[in-house]
């Protein structure tokens, strides 16, 4: 299988601290790839580089063969990379529907003036986008929340809307930064089901950062493990589960000097 997204030897330092050091990763089309590792392992930094929020100090990221290392986030969004945030990034005062419509913004072509007049093309375009957004609302089963302000929703539901906002972009690659963080058991099951359905129904490639090992091992095709900014393992869930280096990173070495804690 060819790599849809290729990350080659990327590094990123903040001041003197190296967050990510020469990490290489190939993401295959249509897979669910999880990136795991203890706190501070550099997972979110890696995700931020893929989505263009940071640019790597060195190394190269290419999407479908084209170099996108220095692209701005909005450019990457247009190319089909969407993400959710660990700390929900929704407009709290706006309704669920408006947040999702905003998620489609980069796909809208009407200019300010045309939208203001709202006649002809702008109106037709709005209808097309609204239909896609309604499909997402149906998909995520949030029909009853359409007109609710996001800020008034329970945390687990906000996570779901956050996923919806990313889906509204109609992405080729979906980056999920702890979509189940802070969710209860039932909300986690729902979210896992949605992630699998997105992957199966639309063939969307998914890069997932998640701490719940049960979920990661259940739904991932492959798992990559980061520790202290370095990739220490990569493979199927079973391979990773039995990898001695991974066990060491999570549980500490024999002397008992834990560097992360298994629940990190």
């Amino acid at each position: 299988m060819s790599a849809q997204l290729e990350i080659a030897e990327v590094s990123k330092s903040f001041g003197g601290v190296q967050a990510v050091g020469r990490v290489s990763l190939e993401v295959r089309r249509g897979e669910i790839l999880s990136v795991i590792g203890p706190n501070g392992a550099g997972k979110t930094t890696l995700l931020n580089m893929i989505s263009g929020f940071y640019h790597p100090d060195s190394g190269r990221i290419s999407l479908e063969g084209a170099d996108v290392t220095r692209h701005a986030p909005n450019r990457l969004a247009e190319l089909g990379i969407a993400r959710t945030f660990q700390n929900i990034a929704l407009f709290r005062g706006m309704t669920v529907l408006d947040n999702l419509m905003l998620g489609r913004h980069v796909r809208m072509k009407s200019g300010v003036l045309a939208s203001f007049v709202y006649w002809g093309f702008a109106q037709r375009e709005e209808v097309v986008h609204r239909r896609l957004v309604e499909d997402i609302i149906d998909f995520l089963r949030i029909q009853d929340l359409r007109r609710r302000p996001c800020g008034s929703l329970a945390y687990g539901l906000q996570k779901r809307v956050e996923l919806g906002r990313a889906l509204a972009l109609d992405p080729k690659i979906l980056l999920l930064d702890e979509p189940m963080g802070g969710c209860n058991h039932e909300e986690k099951e729902d979210m896992a089901r949605f992630i699998l359905d997105v992957n199966h129904e639309w063939g969307t490639t998914i890069i997932l950062i998640e701490h719940d090992m049960g979920v990661v091992m259940d739904i991932s095709d492959r798992v990559a493990v980061l520790d202290m900014g370095l990739k220490i393992a990569e493979g199927t869930p079973d391979q990773v589960r039995t990898n001695p280096q991974v066990i060491k990173a999570y549980l500490g070495d024999a002397k008992g000097t834990s560097n992360g804690g298994q629940n990190a």
Partner: protein, 638 residues
Amino acid sequence: MPDLTTLPRLLQRNARELGARPAMREKDRGIWQTWNWRQYHDQVRDLALGLASLGLRRGDRLSVIGDNRPRLYWAQVAAQSLGGISVPVYQDSIAKELAYVWNHAEVSVIVAEDQEQVDKVLALRDELPSLRLVVYDDPRGMTGYRHDWLKSFEDVQEAGRKFGVEHPGFFESEVEKGGPADVAVISYTSGTTGSPKGAMISHANAIGVAESFRQVSRLVPEDTSLAYLPMAWAGDSVYTLFAGLVAGFCANCPESPETVQRDLRELGPSTLLAPPRIWENMLTAVLVRAADATPLKRRTFEYFRSAAERAEILRTEGKPVPAGLRLATALGEFFVYGPVRDQLGLLRTKWALTGGAPLGPDTFRFFRSIGVNLKQVYGSTETTGLVSLQPDREANPSTAGRPVPGVEIKIGDRGEVLVKGCTVFKGYFRNEAATQEVIDPDGWFRTGDAGFIDPRGHLVIIDRAKDVGALTDGTPFAPQFIENKLKFSPYVREAVAFGNDKPFVAAMIAIDPDTVGNWAERRGIAYTSYMDLSQKAQVREMIRDEIRRGNETLPEGTRIRRFLLLTKDLEADDAEITRTRKVRRRYVADKYATVIDALYGGAAEAELSTSITYEDGRQATIQSRVSIEDVAEAAARV
């Protein structure tokens, strides 16, 4: 005059005569989609032909599982068109219950709403030897499912269109073969004792009951309804399916169970059937919003509300309403009643029905006073959902109304209500013994309810006949009668009263976590869980006051003397109540035997071990201590 003695023939008539009038709507992508009678007919025909091409034969059973969806209704009529029988099931049933019903009915086709329901069938596949075909409505998440016995609704209809071209006139001739005595639906009772029983409802029952219902409730094709009650419940079959076909009105399916209230508001249907729980929730919502309003609005609401209730009381007592009060209520219609009805989606209702359990008199009066023509209805699965109904001018909270046309009522031994007429079912499926137990040779059906006929000619239901007992001193004891007095309190979700062969009446109460939680929050009482909340001293005190209030309306001897608060709600998954929320008394008495001993033994506390069944069938046990409260001093003081 064409033969209109089966449901599919009525569908053909409607397609012919009502053609382009709306028959069903469903909200999809946030917009109401409409199907007219012509389309309803074509959808049913295509599916029926598809099912025939896949091997559905006369007499075969087809089950539907899911929320109210037009396609699940069509599937039922499609089966009936081929001489098949529909078996709707409760989608929230646990796997064991579903397997029992599907096996007992030897279902050969299941039409499932979506992936969630298909997964349930998949998990039980090996236990269902008679199952040959599963059809799903919503294809989402189904791309990975590859089984030759699993097909989408569209695929079956496509096969049907092909089959129809090859076999012209097949559908019509199959419909022609059907007769009024054929079974149309097997409706499984949720059963307060033992395994569910399948009540066979014939086309004659279905059309008979729908025709009576149409006459007394003046149904016309212009009417609209909201189809949101469980499809497995006989009441929904009668209202949405049978009456829809007989009267030709339009049934509307909500978008999802969570959007029912909003969809109701958008639609403003002209008719509404709702169980007491929904009316109580609506009243609570109105009162909460009134309490949160600005002082001027709140006082306006309170003034007009009390005026409306005074006028309503005068009207029910048959007394004239003074001119001043008439003026106040006329103004109130403009300022308060109309807007409130609009908010609730009741602006256009010509009538609304409540049934299944008694509705508190205060709630009943509130809705009538603001101009909702709310009436009580009485029926059961075996009587095809309908025995009696209140006429418009005789609505009141305590009776079940007059028998509908074609139905006779008499009171038998031990006060049991007996029913005879077109609505009495054909018998239990594959259970002749049980059928003979409830239908006597003259055709009288024993409802199992104890009741009497009041001087006006209205039927009044007291309790289940077998539950009526006596205290040790001989005072008659009707547990449900007492429980209903308790459940009129918004804070009490479920109550179980004991007293048969006991010296006094005692009760176990499950609080309503929403209203009690709200009550606690307003008083700054912190709590962590249902269990914690239920054992707060303040909550126990508050419930004691509620019981005292209920006691005032009970005869001296049957007042509640002791009670305790359960640490969890009664759950259908734990087999404590039925899916239609009726207490399974014998089971509860066994399960809580130690608690009942403590109630009568004078102990101040009881050891409560509750087992909880999760939705996937796993079980867990929780141990706790609950304190037992006395209300004896109240009984002595009053």
